[in-house]
């Protein structure tokens, strides 16, 4: 599942991953994500850090089961220092990303 408030990013990531034979669902923010999780059980959630609505950290705490990887324009250490993300997460991909890197990371996380 891709969670990002920017439609273009959602769609780009979805397109890339679908090309690599992943089944992808998108959500436009944290609340939407929680809503959609009622219907879908994804293996991995790729989630932006800065989105309108419920803060990402709170959203992440409500998610049980799927691995969470963050996708952010911020550097990982900055995001950690600003206390914007949950303590345990599976991966961190910085935007803008190289698509091969993204695919590799997702492959690793899902495997």
């Amino acid at each position: 599942m891709i969670v990002d408030d920017e439609k273009d990013i959602r769609e780009s990531v979805k397109l890339i991953l679908e090309k690599h034979n992943y089944k992808v669902v998108t959500a436009k923010d944290g609340d939407d994500c929680l809503e959609k999780l009622k219907k879908f059980k994804p293996d991995l959630i790729l989630m932006d850090i800065m989105m309108p609505g419920t803060p990402v950290k709170e959203v992440a705490e409500k998610i049980h089961g799927p691995k969470i990887a963050y996708l952010s324009i911020l550097k990982r250490d900055d995001a950690e220092r600003e206390n914007m993300i949950s303590e345990d997460y599976a991966g961190y991909i910085q935007k803008p990303f190289e698509i091969n890197q993204l695919v590799n990371s997702v492959n690793k996380l899902v495997a």
């Binding site: 920017e6 990013i9 780009s12 397109l15 890339i16 324009i73 935007k95 803008p96 190289e98 698509i99």
Partner: protein, 692 residues
């Protein structure tokens, strides 16, 4: 006021005013004191003179009265008809009856007047015919002065030895002198007058004197003070005042020696009836005691007034200077950027007004400062927000381009691929530019994060070098690191790498193919000094000064090829300076450049904001360089770069450097002073800027 000010102003305003007032009052007192004293002197002298004048006049009168009274008593005897008739009869008839009658008259008179000691009646040849002193009858007293004078006229004779007064006068019957009456009178009355010291204090006395036939002077009656010579005899010096008195001079003597040799004030009188001299005198010491008392009283009053006025001056000056001090201190705080400072002066005068207007000014400044801070914050926020916003679209753009490039949507033709490459490359450049601006906005907002961990410098450099080999591989540049043994220390490896990468990238960009880049690090004082040396084209003098400014690019064909964001070195400067380090470059065109920077052995954890985009630092450096050029001519630029290389551009470093130049006789004394003054002005400006 602090010590600092006392050093700066040799005499404080307070001291000046106190000294001024003391000088004025001292002068007034110096003038007034003698005038005051001389008028006191005159007044006291006049008093003493008047005292003695009155007393001596009074004493003279009493003595004259007494003499007159004595003569009247004598008259009372000599004019008695019975006595004269009896005497006549006796002389003619030698009738013993008459003699008894005479004796009776004399006896009655003696009884009725108690001062009378004896009364005799003598005949013209001096034979005592009758006397109250029976033993004297028949004796011849013709040699006695009182007889000699008394047979002719009423006389007054004083006998010192017998302490008696002889009153004598002729007994006349029908124009014929029958004989003389002699009264021995007690001198008690005179003694009483003379020994009345009631108005004469402790040392005053009245003395009576008489000139003897041989010209010597003798005192009548006992004196108040007796003096004895070495053999125990009463003695006295010739009284000078008495001499004047006996010369019939009636006058005041302000300073004269008396019979004891003591300095006295005296008033002389002459008693013509008996040709006596009368002197009333007093020791000067006692006479002028009021003056001395008055002087010491005045002196003590003066001391008291001086002390009181000194206290008053201090009190008044405090009234003035305490508020001034308050305002001065408040002003200092204001200068240091504390706009919340206010002064409380409730003196109800101009100083309170001054304090109030100061407070108003401080408030206005505070508001301005608040606005400026807000503006600064807005600027930083703007930078931060816009960079984030600017970066967001980059992600899908880059992703889509990569997808195109990777053939997600089918294979592209050669021209399309080349076009896409250009778009992609420039998009990446735009992204890194945005990243750099974001970084700068953090440095400026002191939001640059440092994450200190214990690590070896050597490892960080090695990691950097390893990671660098991917950049511009076609140039085949060898990076050689030479790191001193530096123990593990607290540092932020990411930031250190960021600076090193920027410098090495920079070096690579300007290096020729197959050249070398040297990296070294060594401990220098409490810092580690890093050095990144290349063999590239070098940087011009102007470039060296400005290379750390944002967007500065040397106009060179080489640089066009490898355009960066123009912010890399500015960011390096920001990172290094945030850690209180220094970054600089040494270069010679054609011979390569060497970049230096330092980081502290003990990291700085309180990060201060540093201005990069709108930095006054470069401006200040340029101003200082201009001064160097102005004062040293062609040498200026060289000296400035030496200074900049050796030390941080701080006031004390600059001043000591100028002193060195003076010591080397490069600068003259007068130039040195002007130079220092101008440098101070610039640095003060800088300080103000920094405090904001």
């Amino acid at each position: 006021m602090g010590e600092e000010e006392l050093k700066r102003f040799k005499i404080s305003l307070k001291l000046k005013i106190i000294l001024g007032i003391l000088f004025i009052s001292g002068t007034l007192i110096a003038i007034a004191f003698p005038l005051l004293f001389s008028s006191f002197d005159r007044a006291v002298l006049d008093d003493v003179r008047e005292d003695l004048d009155v007393i001596s006049f009074f004493q003279k009168n009493r003595i004259q009265d007494e003499i007159e009274k004595s003569f009247e008593r004598l008259k009372g005897i000599t004019s008695r008809t019975q006595l004269r008739l009896s005497l006549k009869n006796y002389l003619e008839l030698s009738d013993s009856e008459e003699k008894i009658r005479i004796s009776k008259i004399l006896g009655d008179a003696l009884l009725s007047i108690k001062d009378f000691r004896n009364i005799h009646v003598l005949d013209t040849s001096g034979v005592v015919l009758a006397s109250t002193d029976k033993g004297l009858e028949g004796k011849i007293l013709s040699q006695e002065n009182y007889f000699k004078e008394g047979i002719i006229k009423d006389s007054f004779n004083f006998d010192e030895e017998k302490e008696l007064i002889y009153l004598s006068g002729p007994l006349i019957f029908e124009d014929t002198i029958l004989g003389a009456a002699v009264i021995e009178l007690s001198n008690e009355k005179f003694k009483e007058i003379i020994s009345n010291y009631s108005m004469l204090g402790e040392t005053g006395e009245t003395i009576l004197g008489r000139r003897n036939r041989d010209g010597t002077i003798s005192f009548l009656f006992q004196r108040r003070f007796e003096i004895f010579d070495s053999s125990g005899n009463k003695t006295y010096l010739p009284g000078v005042s008495m001499n004047y008195a006996l010369s019939k001079q009636e006058d005041f003597f302000e300073e004269i020696l008396d019979y004891r040799g003591v300095s006295v004030v005296s008033y002389t009188r002459h008693i013509p009836e008996v040709n006596w001299g009368l002197v009333v005198k007093k020791n000067r010491e006692e006479a002028f005691k009021p003056l001395i008392d008055l002087r010491s009283t005045i002196f003590f009053i003066f001391i008291a007034v001086a002390v009181l006025s000194a206290l008053l001056i201090i009190f008044l000056s405090n009234q003035i200077f305490v508020p001034i001090k308050k305002i001065t201190q408040a002003n200092k705080s204001l200068g240091k950027g504390d706009y919340s400072v206010r002064v409380k002066i409730k003196s109800g005068d101009e100083l309170q007004e001054l304090g109030e207007s100061f407070n108003n000014a401080a408030e206005a400044l505070g508001k301005l400062d608040e606005e400026r801070k807000q503006l600064d914050k807005s600027k930083t926020e703007f930078l931060s927000i816009t960079s984030h916003e600017l970066r967001s679209p980059m992600t899908p753009m880059i992703a889509q381009m990569q997808m195109l490039k990777e053939g997600y949507f089918g294979k592209l033709g050669k021209e399309k691929e080349e076009s896409l490459d250009i778009i992609y490359r420039n998009t990446l450049r735009l992204d890194s530019l945005i990243q750099d601006i974001l970084e700068i906005s953090r440095i400026e907002a002191a939001r640059l994060k440092f994450n200190f961990v214990l690590k070896k410098v050597e490892d960080v450099v090695k990691q950097t070098v390893d990671g660098m080999n991917n950049f511009l591989p076609e140039k085949n540049i060898q990076i050689i690191a030479n790191i001193d043994k530096i123990p593990e220390m607290e540092l932020d490896p990411d930031r250190l790498m960021q600076v090193l990468i920027n410098l090495v990238n920079n070096a690579k960009k300007f290096s020729e193919k197959n050249s070398k880049i040297f990296i070294s690090a060594k401990i220098k004082n409490d810092m580690i000094e890093f050095k990144v040396q290349d063999q590239g084209a070098g940087i011009s003098k102007e470039g060296q000064k400005r290379i750390f400014e944002p967007f500065y690019q040397e106009l060179k064909p080489m640089s066009k090829k490898y355009e960066g964001t123009g912010l890399g070195l500015a960011i390096c400067r920001g990172i290094v300076e945030a850690q209180n380090g220094r970054i600089w470059v040494e270069s010679e065109t054609g011979k390569g450049s060497t970049f230096y920077f330092t980081i502290p052995l003990i990291p700085v954890k309180e990060i201060k904001p540093i201005r990069i985009l709108f930095s006054p630092q470069m401006e200040i450096e340029r101003k200082i360089l201009d001064l160097f050029k102005e004062f040293l001519g062609p040498l200026g630029e060289q000296e400035f770069s030496v200074l900049k290389k050796e030390k941080k551009l701080e006031l004390k470093n600059l001043i000591s450097y100028l002193d060195e130049l003076y010591a080397k006789q490069i600068l003259s004394q007068t130039k040195l002073e002007v130079f220092k003054k101008k440098i101070k002005e610039i640095m003060v400006e800088k300080e103000k800027e920094a405090n904001k």
